[in-house]
Symmetry: D2
Subunit: 271 residues, 4 copies
């Protein structure tokens, strides 16, 4: 997504954008930064358990006034509401879980976003390497990240690496990131278009995006991108997208506690 | 969508549901009601012009904090914001218009819902004739409704009917509705399942639903379901769904005035 | 949806369309017809088990030539293919089941189409009551159709009706259909626009449509619209849409026998 | 995405998968390969202009037999068919263009796939860096690739680079690719899981996928991912995804010549 004129006004002292930078300018030296985590913030939401109940009840009480629906969702109806939500979840009546919306701001490496955007029931706006110069922020696995893959395809398990393996991953990732970013900067400094220069950047560079989903879509995402004991279906997510999913799950659980409880109680399957 | 146990608690004095009514019970006499309008209420929304700006700016200011984004969306930035939204609309950068949500409650005849639900980028929960006994509320065209179709297929125009035509439509619609509902009630009174009895009900019976959309999807709907002079593409909606669309449009225009203005200024085409 | 042959320049000798019929013309007497079945034909398809295998194998053999993929899908690989498809189904790797397409032509009553079109992962083109005069073909339940609904909401069961009930349904449905169609014809004969006159038609009038789906979407449809013993999740479809689903299932089973077998073996859950 | 041949029971003589390679094994030396093009093959299709006509005509000739539809699509009807398709395109009757399917096999660099998969109305299966060891095939811009970006954001233009710029891009891209792949191989050779090692690979490494679309979805893609003079709306695609789009367009044009012509004649806007 482009933006034209807003940047200078926001920060008039900001460095001139790369496309204006003459080839002879002294390169802006950016120091690479390494992270091992992801950022997930809840930007906006309109998501309540009562929305599920309203939507479900329109089926059976078509002429329902909103006041009446509210009454039936409040107070003494709490237990009943939980029962209805559980029933909807169990019997896969999924549509009442769609009348809500959550917008998350996510910072994660590109290899995570690649998996993320395979989920088509969501709205995305991602930072563009065509429209802005990317910052040298790179993902490096934490020392606790499992490094060895065992088992057969389709049912891999991951075990801790040896200290030597951990050191190699750390060193090789940092070195490759720095080298790649130097090549990127060298091309930008020579006046090459951002969209060309960026092609040498590695999959562990961070990007950021807004993603908007409803609870039904989010449950599908969580079902496939978290690995838990005792779920109805097994899932084998890569750890880094699971880190995003876990943060999204925590934020969602606060917004819709009854729905969240029913999701867990019914094997973490999206209805 | 079904509901099991909630109905009695909500209104313990409500008549016993139809499925419990013994065949020998005295029929509940329901008096048919006729309407010529539709109901559209905004139930919930999280929809602001600033959401569009946030989403668009993440492209160019990836590491943007939310505070910064808010600042750039407020105050002196208002004009600038309008310009950016207009640019996004004009050049079909549609995804920033998806990070918002509006839930409408709609009452309209079934022939309108049939057209409505062809729009797949929306979430629906409709009153179910399988789960509840339907009320005898029927649509009858208002005297001002155009009744004569002229022109060639694909570009029909509609003109006022004669007084005789208007009288016939009014009379025939009322009579057919009453006859159909009598057949429906007769079957229910004989213990026939609701899902079977309802098949004789006409397309002008009212139903109700919750529908949730985002602004991009709504613009697509409005583009196809309203007929305006000077739009980029012509549309030929049936008047009754246009009545719904107009009410949705008014409610949306209040929520997102800049986006709404840009939609109009760019030929009412969904980006 | 447009009508082609009415564009005068294209075919000046075409019969005059219904909307050109002068009010004074002698009404075309159409005799109502009653049916108790549905029509489902496979119009087009490009759907093979090998498509599933190709798509799955691109994940692990990226540079795969098509010849190689074909070889690995044929002959001695048949058993292996069945195993892979079963594995994909079981572990919910759904995307390989999307690279295929089936177009069905369906004739069914409108109350069935109303349920059908709630499935948004499909492409539809339906006969339009705005563009053509509808034929008086109506659904009437067969004598074997269960008529009594027992059990509690959300888990209804349906039992045979009494002979009196069956007779009532048959008589009331036929009478209501005939009355409604007479009102429709009376309005058409008076020069009322088709889109207005049709509103009195009942939900049991037949319509027809083209619907295109892929196997993943079809499995979701079958999972929800057929009721079988021993499935992973229970479903409670109305019998009439199940009649459509069963015919679609039979046609699909012939096209993709391995996929179909895996669907059944894994609880009839869409992956 | 699974790998088939690793299930020991299925094929015990299969070569040991990469994840079984012991750390001490001599590394497989893979020589990096550089390309400046993309591969697009049509794998499967069921896509004909007549499908559009069938679907459109079901609206107006509901009870149409297939033979009748075929007849009206053939022979003397050819001109009429072209007219109808043009009319549908012009007035945005989009649904008749959905009853068809094309599956493409695409090889392109990851930065292209990142843009590609933002199109949600398509089915994708991509080579997985989690399930297989990736090959060192990298994209390097051809000497003819424009390298300088001029103009303002939202309306960039691209001009040829200087010989020095071209040389820098070529050299820097090759060097960065080789360095990154060496880091990748070093980690694999040390027994690091593929899903971890791959994170250092650059965005210009090739991947491959199957993508299935219908003509309506494809037109939307082409509308946004090709840049042509005289189109209804301007588009600013990155050249590399446009290279894919152009090949897809050529293949589609052969399958559906009337639809293709109407797309061009109406400003290359998806209906």
């Amino acid at each position: 997504m482009p933006e034209t004129d807003a940047a200078p006004a926001v920060n008039p002292s900001a460095p001139r954008p790369a496309d204006a930078r003459p080839p002879e300018a002294a390169p802006t030296v950016k120091t690479p930064e390494f992270r091992s985590d992801v950022t997930v913030e809840l930007v906006r939401s309109s998501a309540h358990d009562s929305d599920v109940l309203f939507a479900a009840r329109v089926s059976t009480m078509g002429e329902l006034t909103l006041d009446g629906a509210q009454a039936s969702a409040d107070g003494a109806q709490a237990t009943k509401g939980a029962g209805l939500i559980n029933y909807l979840m169990r019997d896969r009546h999924g549509s009442p879980f769609e009348h809500n919306s959550m917008t998350f701001y996510v910072q994660a490496p590109i290899f995570v976003f690649r998996e993320f955007m395979r989920h088509r029931m969501a709205s995305y706006n991602e930072e563009s390497g065509r429209y802005r110069e990317l910052n040298p922020v790179f993902y490096v696995p934490a020392p606790t990240r499992n490094l060895q893959q065992v088992g057969k395809p389709g049912a891999y398990d991951f075990l801790p690496g040896t200290p030597e393996q951990a050191a190699l991953v750390d060193e090789a990732t940092r070195a490759a990131s720095i080298q790649a970013f130097e090549a990127y900067q060298r091309m930008l400094d020579a006046g090459i278009a951002r969209e060309v220069a960026r092609i040498v950047l590695p999959l562990n560079i961070y990007s950021s995006m807004y993603v908007t989903v409803n609870a039904r879509s989010l449950m599908n995402f969580l079902s496939l991108r978290t690995k838990r004991e005792g779920t109805h279906f097994p899932s084998f997510p890569q750890r880094e997208i699971e880190m995003c999913a876990e943060k999204m799950e925590d934020l969602w659980a606060e917004l819709m506690p009854l729905t969240y409880a029913a999701f867990g109680a019914n094997g973490r399957v999206a209805p």
